[in-house]
């Protein structure tokens, strides 16, 4: 008796063998395969290129906007109507909030300074070591307040120097004396003006308006009752929102660079969608090309498929054969497209950096980003598209009758 076997214990064609047959078939029609792969590469490459540009630009903008602010920080201010002030009690309560690691104290008032007989308005910040640690101050000359041993030190930004015509060479002001004047808010119903001669210890490159920084103790010793703002550092980005809620429950107002970042991300998410739309047109053409190739391949090989079924192939093996061909086209096309897009992006980035350097931009920048999620996401997307495109030809391959196929001429 003939041994009967069920579908489960019936061995099917080994994947390696199917891959070999699929590969040989694609290789036989070299030009068609090349054109199809090129179509996919261009389609997927343009999607990748535009997305990589979108994400790169998003990072660049976020970096410029967030700049020296750590996104693990929260800015705390009193609300306009609040009776809660940023005094020692408030600072103590905030320091007790879990996840809060560090607190930077800030006073700031409009004031003015006089240097080399030039006088200009400026924002005068009174900051402590905590603030300096939580904020990246881009020091270009000298030293920061937390690192200096000088008595009555002051750090100013480049914009303040530019306001008095000394922006070209910041090093010449280090060690020089500067006169500060700050009209303070009423203290115990009395108006006070802070006036002091100080020594410049450092120049930073941040902010577009004139800003000068002195130790917060200067204002505190004068009896200024409450801080203007606090900068609170937390454990991680994930704990920002929780810590903010707890600080707000005290009756204070909070903001965070995360808010700005979210806004930027929102805008760029829309931009990316538009870019995907543009790239999608190329992608659509590539998909149609792939469908066309697989369908023609099916029609040309009807007899071959009939032969294979007559020789004992399961119809599901014929379906798998077409799936392998689609996967091959998708993977090779997607890989080539991504490699091409990365190369093109690299080239454009070099040219843009050279152009920017020619216009005085000192820091290099990256216009294109290549996060691994994007690379694998785009490849995965193309594989899924390939599997969807092959559904119809594969189903038709599965239904081919060997007798009809072998009778065809």
């Amino acid at each position: 008796m003939m041994k009967r076997r069920t579908i489960k214990d019936r061995p099917t064609v080994q994947p390696r063998v199917l891959a070999m047959i699929a590969y040989r078939n694609l290789l036989q029609k070299r030009l068609r395969t090349l054109l199809t792969v090129s179509g996919i590469a261009i389609g997927i490459g343009s999607v990748y290129f535009l997305l990589s540009f979108g994400i790169g630009l998003q990072r660049l903008v976020a970096n410029q906007v967030i700049g020296n602010q750590s996104i693990r920080t929260i800015d705390v201010k009193p609300t306009n109507s609040s009776i809660i002030k940023l005094d020692d009690i408030a600072v103590q309560r905030i320091s007790e909030v879990p996840d809060v690691k560090e607190i930077g104290k800030i006073y700031y008032f409009p004031g003015s300074f006089k240097l080399n007989n030039s006088e200009t308005d400026s924002i005068v910040y009174g900051i402590d070591k905590g603030y300096e640690q939580l904020t990246y101050l881009n020091l270009i000359k000298g030293e920061l307040l937390k690192d200096t041993a000088v008595k009555n030190p002051i750090v100013m930004n480049k914009a303040a120097l530019e306001a008095i015509g000394l922006g070209k060479d910041p090093s010449i002001v280090i060690g020089k004396s500067i006169d500060i004047t700050v009209p303070l808010p009423k203290i115990q119903s009395q108006s006070k003006v802070y006036q002091r001669s100080m020594q410049i210890v450092g120049v930073i490159d941040s902010g577009s308006g004139a800003e000068i920084f002195i130790p917060s103790t200067e204002f505190r010793q004068l009896g200024v009752p409450a801080l203007t703002q606090l900068k609170v550092g937390v454990d991680s980005v994930e704990t920002v929102s929780k810590a903010r809620a707890q600080i707000e429950s005290i009756g204070l107002e909070t903001s965070s660079p995360v808010d700005t970042l979210n806004e930027i991300n929102k805008v760029f998410n829309y931009l990316n969608l538009i870019l995907i739309g543009f790239g999608g047109i190329g992608m659509l053409i590539a998909i149609l090309g792939m469908f066309n190739t697989l369908t023609i391949s099916l029609l040309e090989r009807t007899k071959e498929i009939g032969l294979m079924v007559a020789l004992g192939a399961r119809s599901v093996d014929m379906k798998r054969l077409f799936i392998f061909e689609a996967l091959f086209l998708s993977l090779v096309g997607a890989t080539l497209g991504i490699v091409g897009a990365v190369g093109l992006g690299w080239l454009i980035n070099i040219v843009m950096n050279m152009l920017a350097a020619g216009r005085g931009v000192k820091d290099g920048f990256q216009l294109f980003a290549h996060p691994y999620q994007l690379v694998f996401g785009v490849i995965g997307f193309m594989v899924i598209v390939g599997l969807l495109v092959v559904v119809l030809p594969a189903r038709r391959a599965q239904k081919i009758s060997p007798i009809d196929a072998l009778r065809r001429e």
């Binding site: 003939m2 080994q14 071959e304 032969l307 399961r314």
Partner: protein, 257 residues
């Protein structure tokens, strides 16, 4: 002479097609057998229904009525996958026209039945080399089949039919597109497979020259299958040849007058 065991048994087997409004009886109800380890020749004129009968025997065409038993099991009671298994393991097929997967070499084309059994490429290649050597075509392994001559292609087709060592070889007009030398060589190969390897051969032909190798004869005329036992074959062949000779003589007389 001992009776050979029956490998195939057709019971009231019939096959009909509908073309347009007409129903064509390709195979009329028949009860025939195919003995094991023997050459069964299905003989008939073109369009008589022999290829239709062969398609049924090959597990490719379900009969309209009746049944086909293989070693006692109803072939068409099986699922499509079981039928594929049956074709891959029990049958080796040689066609009149050479069908190939054009993108594959001779070696891979010969190895195909083994691939469909789930064997690895290395093992399939090893056995395909053996099969090619058995038909003296070993040196053509890396060539593409479409580039070979008709005779060479048919030898490769025989290698493909025997590569999985199936018990049954089905040959559908294997000499149809060959000259007599190459045709005789293929017939000799089939005889060798029966004599040396105990294969069961089902040979479809319309060429009377090869009737003498039959152990069993199925004559097909307009869909009617007549089974002729081995002892009766010489007489039947003699009668057929006589009839053919009479027809030829008559035609020649008509031509000369």
């Amino acid at each position: 002479m001992p009776t050979k065991p029956m490998l195939f048994t057709a019971k009231n087997l019939a096959l009909s097609f509908t073309t347009g409004d007409q129903e064509v009886q390709a195979v009329r109800s028949c009860n025939v057998t195919v003995p094991e380890h023997a050459i069964t020749v299905i003989f008939g004129a073109s369009g008589s229904g022999k290829s239709s009968l062969l398609n049924v025997v090959s597990g490719l065409q379900k009969p309209t009525s009746g049944s086909l038993l293989y070693r006692g099991v109803d072939v068409y009671e099986q699922s499509l996958n079981e039928l594929a298994y049956f074709r891959a393991h029990e049958l080796g097929i040689v066609y009149q026209t050479n069908y190939w997967v054009k993108s594959l070499t001779v070696l891979d084309n010969v190895a195909m039945p083994l691939y469909f059994q789930g064997q690895s490429q290395a093992e399939a290649h090893r056995r395909a080399h053996e099969a090619l050597s058995a038909v003296n075509m070993g040196q053509f392994a890396t060539k593409y089949p479409a580039l070979l001559s008709g005779g060479e292609q048919q030898r490769v087709a025989v290698a493909r039919a025997i590569v999985a060592d199936p018990p049954v070889i089905i040959a559908d007009e294997p000499t149809g597109s060959l000259d007599s030398t190459n045709g005789d060589a293929i017939i000799a190969l089939l005889q060798k497979l029966r004599d040396d390897h105990g294969k069961t051969i089902v040979l479809v032909t319309h060429n009377m020259e090869y009737l003498h190798i039959a152990n069993h004869l199925l004559e097909v005329q307009d869909g009617t299958v007549t089974q002729i036992e081995e002892a009766q074959i010489p007489r039947t062949v003699k009668k057929m040849l006589g009839d053919a000779q009479t027809r030829i003589t008559k035609l020649m007389e008509e031509h000369t007058t």
